[in-house]
Symmetry: C3
Subunit: 138 residues, 3 copies
């Protein structure tokens, strides 16, 4: 069994942002040389997400409105977590979007459907944060 | 290490539908001959879900109402994604339900709790769509 | 390839409760002797969750309010599932929080970010329920 590990770093300009990280994850898989296995890609921070969906800007605006409806950022005082912080909404938004994806590796490629793209979802940005890529297989 | 891959195809009669796919996934595991490992089962489409819950029709109607409350299908014009499409709500609903499940394989069986059943959740149906089953182990 | 399996049992005093299970999961990893691999930790019950977030009591109260807003426990009669049961809301809450986490194992340790802690989320407690830990690797 082979294993591979890499951290990817991100620093967004805005509080919330979606970044298509499929090319970086594919590069990890190439580096690993693994042909058959499973790839885990997870946010290492609890106010960020890794998820799979469509790379379509209109949909991303829909996600923003959807998440603001379910877990609004403001008023900050509505959340008990916001004593010394202001990011309680980011913890809730990331919960809806998910922490991680597990992707099959087949024939040395990410085994994704036709429209599946891997995204980093930032909900409390403007600082350096990490994503972990771990691959096991042969 | 052994690995196994299979696609399962579905074509629902209605826009939204839940299908218990546990028997098909068990059949994949038998075919693989893997005794100990991890099984990934994921939707390959971004308007569908694979999730684990109870096979109880009342609960499935509750899920339908819950998802329609959080991400209503209509009016279509409420979503930016719906310029050429009408399925933005399906992307959001699938996000709540999840893309994938990872199930332990122990003693050649799916290592599920007493009521755990694996479902394909369709949110934009009436066309052929795929689920991927990938198993690694020994 | 090595594999390891253990069930962790919980019995909460209240209907809903979050328990930090990171130490128990770390102990499983030590017992397994696995240095590089993937660890799956999942609820075996469909009204409970395993998720990763912050061990901060204010945030946990925020989660409780958030979940009660999205899928309120009462009135019980609002859910079709509640013919003979009263736990439909628990199925929905667990869906939002997620069934499972997959964590990388690197250098014999859980490969978690600085604030990542693993929680058991109970939504229909006061009875014995199980979590599965499965690890594969070498």
């Amino acid at each position: 069994m082979k294993s591979y590990r890499k951290e990817l770093w991100f620093n967004t300009n805005s509080r919330r942002e979606f970044i298509n990280i499929t090319p970086e994850v594919e590069e990890c898989l190439r580096e690993s040389g693994i042909q058959e296995g499973l790839l885990l890609c997870n946010a290492m921070h609890i106010t960020a997400s890794v998820f799979i969906n469509d790379d379509e800007p209109g949909l991303h605006r829909d996600f923003e409105r959807f998440l603001e409806k379910l877990a609004p950022e403001k008023p900050y005082s509505q959340y008990d977590h916001n004593g010394y912080e202001d990011n309680a909404d980011a913890h809730l938004k990331r919960t809806i979007m998910g922490r991680e994806v597990v992707v099959a590796v087949s024939g040395g490629k990410l085994d994704l459907g036709p429209w599946e793209q891997i995204f980093y979802g930032e909900f409390d940005g403007k600082r350096r944060k990490r994503v972990l890529v771990k691959i096991i297989g042969q």
